[in-house]
Every structure is written in structure tokens, then in C-alpha cells.
Symmetry: C2
Subunit: 254 residues, 2 copies
């Protein structure tokens, strides 16, 4: 194994993902995979209809370890044992005593509270969601903003979105991956020499009138600035212009 | 239909989701469902291995209309016809001439550019990703931050995360859903009357010594403030205290 794991914050290890009464084992597996891609590992299942199950294993892909370690319990109350906060995901606009949070704010709150103890994010059944007595055990509610005309978010897809938000809330992703082949991009000087070369070729070919240069060169400079060419591309272009100049100046040019 | 669709910004209608060479029809269906939950509708398939397919329909759930309308083309170049920008999703740290963007920034850029014309978000094959010549057709690259030890994000899950980010970038979700049963929460005055009632009961029962009240009442006030009780809960508590006071004062009290 040459993969070097990034340092993971303890927050993600303190967040349980609870699936209450999931109907489809495939969703359990896909949820495990979704969790693991985002660095979460603690799956709790309340009364799953079918578990363990071959379809859960198949959908988990390389995350079957989360299924093996998953806790299976008989009630949401058991699943929340030891937590300081449970947040319920809800898809419907319920008569809530406390307004729901949007997913992003909910994830931020959950991560912040994970610093004080174990927390849980609770997802209900695919069709019926969470029962009212289950909702009542959760101090907070969160919603993923969906299209009003089609709000049918798949269970594992909702787990994926929330785990993604939890990861971003817990972990500064830093800068995007840097260019691994250092020096690939042409330097400013190299681009300027290319532009000088183009200008020379444009003048010698008569394409550019030095008395009325218009905006030709500044516009090319702007284009190359946007393009951020690689060294090799600059070399190719310079080679091409050199060849054209040589051909234009050479004895074979009739 | 009683659902009132929210006004959707034109940006989401100008974003094509391109799946290049998808292997599993189930992923195509799940991607369509993911798109539709977030208000996107334009799916383009480059050389899908199996399409149309019953498994795609099954995984699309209520989003089969996106599959029916999906464009099937033979090359990425065709898929990008008419676009002003194509952004490629990449999972690997490639030798890119331009650093990749994180998903959130990529989505913001794509939505901003959608104001100027058609744009595309391009996902590669489940196993092999995008070919180098496909990547070269995309001016921008974006990555979803994943766990370094397990980066195996499912294709449809990646589509879900990106469409979620696109939706948030395109559409201010506004305030979370308001409480629909107005008046459910107890008012400040009702909570204060409850606290006064508790104080009276605590004094009359001898539990609270008026000469040394400690911090009992302020602490209860803080707890009720956090709890944000509903009117009905306040009424229940007041009824309970009234009953206890009556029992304590009554002739049957020995």
C-alpha cells in the first residue's frame, strides 16, 4: 500500500450514521460506501428488514468492513445510547417545534458538537421516513434542499450528501491537488518569448503592418494568458513558427 | 398535482450532465434521479454500454423522463457541441496543466459561466475515468474531496454531490422551511408564566428557601430557553404543577 492516509479529525469518528428501519439492503451497502469515501465509519442499523444480505455487500464495494462492524439494534433509543445530540434528516415539511436546518448548517453544527461527545445523524425508512416518536428523540432536524417538483432523494444519496458536508465541515480540504509534474506549465518568460517570436513572424510575413499594428499582439497575449500553455505546447508553436519563417526565407520559396 | 414548483434559475437548465462510457445502466438511472432531485434535467450519454435498459429505468424511480429525453452520442466531442465550457470530474491526481478545483468551487464557476451559454459537467467511466483525449477537451477539472484511504465514490453518488452543489450555487435555498403550524411554540410570556408558577410551587412546597434561593430559577429559565417548549408542553407542565399544589393544600393531604 502506498496510499498515505490524510490525518482525519476525531470529529468524524464520533458521528454515528443511524439508518432506522431501512427496507432495501442495497441502500445499506451504498450508504456504507458513501460513508467510507468521506471518512466516516460508524454505521448503526435500527431494525433493518434484511441484514446482513448479499446485496448490501455488493453495493458496499470496498466498504464491507463498515457492514461487518455495523451495530444492529432494535430501537432508535438504543441507537442513540451515549450520544449528546441526535439530528434527524427529514424530507417533509413537518410541524416542527424547531425549524429544520439546511444540510450544510446541520453538518457544521453536528461536527461542532462532536467535539463535546458522541453525536448521531438519523435517517428514516425509504418510504415512510422517521416515525413521530423517533423524531421526538432528536433534538435537531436537517433537510437537504431538493427540487419542489421531485424531492425523491434516494436514501444512500442522502447519506452521501450529508457525509460529504460532514467531511467538509470537519476537515479543511486544503488546496486542490497541486500539479504533480512540476515545471509543466510554461513560465511567463517562455510565453513572452513565444509572443515575440509570433510578432517577428507576423512582421516578416507582412501579415502585421508595423505602421498600423492594431491590437493583434495584445489580443494574442491575452489569449495565451488565459490558455496557460504548457512548456511543450510553447515549444511546439515556436518550432512551427521557426519552420514557417525558414520556409518563407529559404531558396525554395517561389 | 398540488405541488407548487419553486422558480428555478435558468442556470440549471443550461448545464448538461455528460456520462462518458458508463458501464452500468443502474448508474445511469441513479444519476438521472440524482439530477432531477436537484432540478437538473439534461443528461447526455456518450457510448453507454447498455442503454436503454430496465435497470436504468428501475434506478431512475420517478426520473425516467430524463432517460427518455437523454441524448445518446458517439463521442465526447459531440456531447460538448454548443457548449462554452466543459468541466471534467476527475478522481485521480493527474498531471494537469491547470490545478483542479474542489467540487464546491467548480460548481460555482459552472453556474456563473452558465449565464454566458451552455456548459457541461463530464463524468468518466466507473472504472477507468475519462480518457486523456477526453480530458483534453475540458477546460476545467473538478474533484470531490474524498478520504485518501478509500476514494471509491460511486458514479451516481458523485453526480448527486455535484448536482447538490450546482443547486446550491444556482439557487439561494432561502430560509429553512418555516414552522407550518403557527403558534405551536410557546411565547416568551407563556414560558415566563410557567417559570413563575414553578417558583411559586417551589416556595410553597418548601423546596425553595426564599432566604437562600440559590440559582434554581435562573437555571430553569435557561433550560426552558434552550428547550423552546411548545404551547401544549407548557400547558401540560402548568396543569401538573397546579394539580400538585392543589394536592399539597387539599384536605386529603395528610
Amino acid at each position: 500500500m502506498t496510499i498515505t492516509p490524510l490525518p482525519e479529525p476525531a470529529a468524524l469518528d464520533r458521528i454515528r450514521v443511524v439508518l432506522s428501519h431501512p427496507s432495501h439492503p442495497g441502500n445499506i451497502g451504498a450508504a456504507a460506501r458513501a460513508m467510507k469515501t468521506m471518512g466516516l465509519s460508524r454505521l448503526v442499523l435500527v431494525n433493518p428488514r434484511l441484514f446482513p444480505d448479499a446485496q448490501a455487500d455488493a453495493m458496499a464495494a470496498g466498504a464491507t468492513d463498515l457492514l461487518v462492524q455495523a451495530e444492529v439494534v432494535a430501537s432508535l433509543s438504543e441507537a442513540l445510547s451515549g450520544t449528546v445530540l441526535a439530528m434527524a434528516m427529514t424530507a417533509r415539511r413537518r410541524e416542527l417545534a424547531v425549524p429544520a436546518l439546511w444540510a450544510r448548517d446541520g453538518a457544521a453544527e453536528l461536527v461542532a458538537l462532536a467535539a463535546t461527545g458522541e453525536v448521531a445523524l438519523v435517517f428514516g425508512n425509504e418510504t415512510s421516513g422517521l416515525a413521530n416518536d423517533e423524531l421526538a428523540m432528536c433534538r435537531r432536524w436537517a433537510m437537504i434542499p431538493v427540487d419542489a417538483g421531485f424531492s425523491s432523494l434516494n436514501l444512500a444519496a442522502a447519506v452521501q450528501v450529508m457525509c460529504y458536508e460532514l467531511r467538509l465541515a470537519a476537515l479543511d480540504p486544503g488546496l486542490p491537488p497541486a500539479i504533480s509534474g512540476a515545471g509543466l506549465l510554461a513560465s511567463h518568460d517562455e510565453v513572452e518569448r513565444l509572443i515575440a517570436h509570433i510578432e517577428r513572424a507576423a512582421l516578416s510575413s507582412g501579415f502585421l503592418d508595423p505602421a498600423s499594428p492594431k491590437r493583434l499582439i495584445p489580443r494574442l497575449r491575452r489569449m495565451f494568458s488565459r490558455a496557460a500553455p504548457e512548456k511543450e505546447e510553447v515549444n511546439i508553436l515556436r518550432g512551427l513558427f521557426a519552420a514557417l519563417e525558414k520556409a518563407a526565407a529559404g531558396p525554395d520559396c517561389k
